[in-house]
Amino acid sequence: MAKTPRTPGRRFRWTPGLLIGVVMMSVMVAIAVVAPLFLTSSAETLTANPSQGPSAEHWLGTDDFGRDVLARSLVATRLTLLMTVSTTIMAVVGGIAIGTAVWLAPAKVRNGALRLIEAAVAYPSLIFALLIAAILGQGTWSAVLAIAIASIPAFSRLTANMAASISQRNYVSTARLLGVPGPRIITRHLLPNMAEPLLILTATVFATTLIELSSLSFIGLGVQNPEYDFGRLLNEALVNIYSQPLQAVMPSIMITVTGLSAMLIGDGLAAASDPRGGRRHRTRRQASELPASLRSSADALVEVDNLTITAPTGKELVKGLSLSIRAGEVVGLVGESGSGKSLTAMSIAGLLPEELTVSARTLRVGDLDLLGRNDPRRMATEIGLVYQDPGTTFNPALRMGSQLTEVSRVHLKESRTTAVAKMVKALADIRITRPESRMKQYPHQLSGGMLQRAMIATSLVSDPKLIIADEPTTALDVTVQADVLRQFRSINRERGTAMLFISHDIGVVQALCDTVIVMNGGKVLERLTGADLAKGNVKHPYTKALLAATPSMSERKTELVALRSDAFNLDEEIEEVSP
């Protein structure tokens, strides 16, 4: 089942970078506020001591007009920040206005406008700014306007992209159905949900704007006397860089620190808004000495004894689970989201997310001890894997053929030709039409059912002892699902491959599996045969409730039994953990 991360409501995370950025920026803002109050006279009064080196009176010397270099650098902070902020605001507001207005426009206008924006983005912005600045004439505000206008295309494209992706969300189309006027859709639904990325982008725009404004000043088109910003100070200083290098030091530091702090803030905000961030990874797996709660048989192909999987938060996601699979046996794991069934399967496959901690008394497949390091070749050839969503399990950038033959070529050391020929035959065996041309196609050109069958075919190439299939039919249409299930059935019959089959669908599990294990809350609740399950011959109240909650076309139930996990003596956590 697709799990969408729940974005808001996470606690804000302070990363070291963000902290440094905010501190540096606060210092800059403080300088901008305070410096002009105290230093303006020494920064702007002409004295008879031009172009002097550092002294007690002038720490960094004086400029060509005899003004204190340090004071000027500090006082310039205010104008620089004001200009950068104004430019950023103009670019951001303009960009947002265009980017969202484009979204409101009819499709044809929108496509044309997007093409134009794209072309404008491709255009070198410095040249564009230069032209605008030349037209507007030199000066603070024309520089601000020039850079702002030149930054608008990029920003509006990003806004349009974001608006496009958010406008695909259901709440936006619902709002349209409710008759909410366009502008209100923007203010209520689009902008609030773009706020976070927009804020990050704004920090980046701030940093680049700072540099671009100073570049314009460097070319002589920016701030004019008597005003001065970092760019103009640098422009003046670089003329004397060899005679008076100190003059350039302070503005350089100031501009770099300001830019860096904006960038760090942007990075920090991005990291804070990244749902993947903030995890700790712990990969150490220690054997547990806890007693087994349910027995597992030692002569089985797969033996899991007292498996516990712990989240970085310390929460136990799987709690002392034990199971075993005999050679040739099909074992089904059934349960709802969060029951721990996928985690169990992935820990047997050795593919758990790294931040999870695994402990078990025994965790083995054949003679492969999954608690230790194993020969990758044996892991790849002895365990076949089939995943849930065939649309995402294949690499979109690679052709099918090269992906499907990876195991053959890497681990079985087969030549490319042999591997391809073998795979083509395997595909033909599972009734995939035109197997040769399928091998040359990309995943997106194949249907989900075809991809899933190809995945099964490639997992069989090395003749594995065990296939682990994690919800392999959930993303498939019902007729295709039946097809794929037949495939699994015939593999098991013909090759005697053992299977661990995970599903949330009781109907699927009861049809395919010899043994069915019902899980909830990270624990095994009941173990029964597929036949018993089909007959409704179940004992655990949870399993019973599960059956009662399932609508069926065989019988019309007036009311389904609403199944509440808290009715059973289990952990009632509904939090989803994606493997």
Binding site: P8, T174, L177, L178, R188, A195, T479, A482, M553, L563
Partner: protein, 270 residues
């Protein structure tokens, strides 16, 4: 085409009538026809189940009915009025008559708006202050068995099933003539699905809802619908009352579909 066999008030015009609906995307050589002349009708108080596999056009049909997709030809009549012939303000009014409950509980609610704001917007799209509509919000929350203080909370504080219930409440709050439920249970766990299906069933009885219920899950459609329509590749291959179609499917595709349902009587994987 679909005629309910239940004992409904005779003579009342169908709430929804779809006639020869064709929807084509793109133009020229790259044109793809997604719906190829679909006919359907739903009478007041009835629920039509629409089943089909991916690519069958069932979601496009839903979007066409609510007006998110333009019909290439054919007509869609709501309360006997052709939606396609309407002009600006009329159409906006019409839009509110048909409401859709979307599939994904996580993207169906704006994460930055409280439940109260979301419902208030459904009640009045322009003046949408929750304060103005407090009573109504409380009423609709009570119909989906949520407390009134829920109105000040944000979507992320709710589970998937609860969100889907809120989405139902939002659709109801518009007091539409017709509700289109597009795969509303497909993202939910069994237990939550049961709860939602029960809610829908109860509301149908209590509020006399008219619904189109779209799903790929034949079990679910069977559970909620009065009549059913099977779409395959843009065509209606079979339509009729639920019992008739499930027990005695006429079209080979319908048969195959029903036989593919795990746990069903015809299911066999050898």
């Amino acid at each position: 085409m679909t005629d309910s066999n239940s004992a409904q008030a005779a003579g009342s015009a169908p709430v929804l009538e779809v006639k020869d609906l064709v929807v084509t995307f793109g133009a020229g050589s790259s044109a793809v026809t997604v719906l190829k002349g679909v006919n359907a009708s739903i009478s007041r108080g009835q629920t039509l189940g629409i089943v089909g596999e991916s690519g069958s056009g069932k979601s496009t049909l839903a979007k066409a009915i609510v007006g998110l997709v333009h019909a290439s030809s054919g007509s869609i009549l709501v309360d006997g009025i052709d939606v396609g012939r309407m002009t600006g303000p009329q159409r906006r009014d019409m839009r509110r008559k048909v409401q859709m409950i979307p599939q994904d509980p996580y993207s169906s609610l704006n994460p930055r708006r409280t439940i109260g704001q979301t419902l208030a917007e459904a009640i009045d799209p322009v003046r949408s202050s929750p304060m103005l509509h407090r009573e109504k919000i409380e009423y609709w929350l009570s119909t989906i068995r949520l407390d009134a203080d829920v109105a000040s909370r944000y979507p992320h504080e709710f589970s998937g099933g609860q969100r889907q219930r809120i989405a139902v409440a939002r659709a109801l709050a518009v007091e539409p003539r017709l509700i289109i439920a597009d795969e509303i249970t497909s993202a939910l766990d069994l237990s939550v699905q049961a709860e939602l299906l029960n809610l829908v069933g109860r509301l149908r009885r209590e509020l006399d809802l008219t619904m189109a219920f779209i799903s790929h899950d034949l079990d679910v459609v069977h559970h909620v619908s009065d009549s059913i329509m099977v779409l395959y590749n843009g065509d209606v291959v079979e339509a009729g009352s639920v019992d008739a179609v499930y027990q005695n499917p006429q079209d080979p595709y319908t048969r195959k579909l029903i036989d593919s349902v795990p746990g069903g009587p015809g299911f066999d994987i050898g």
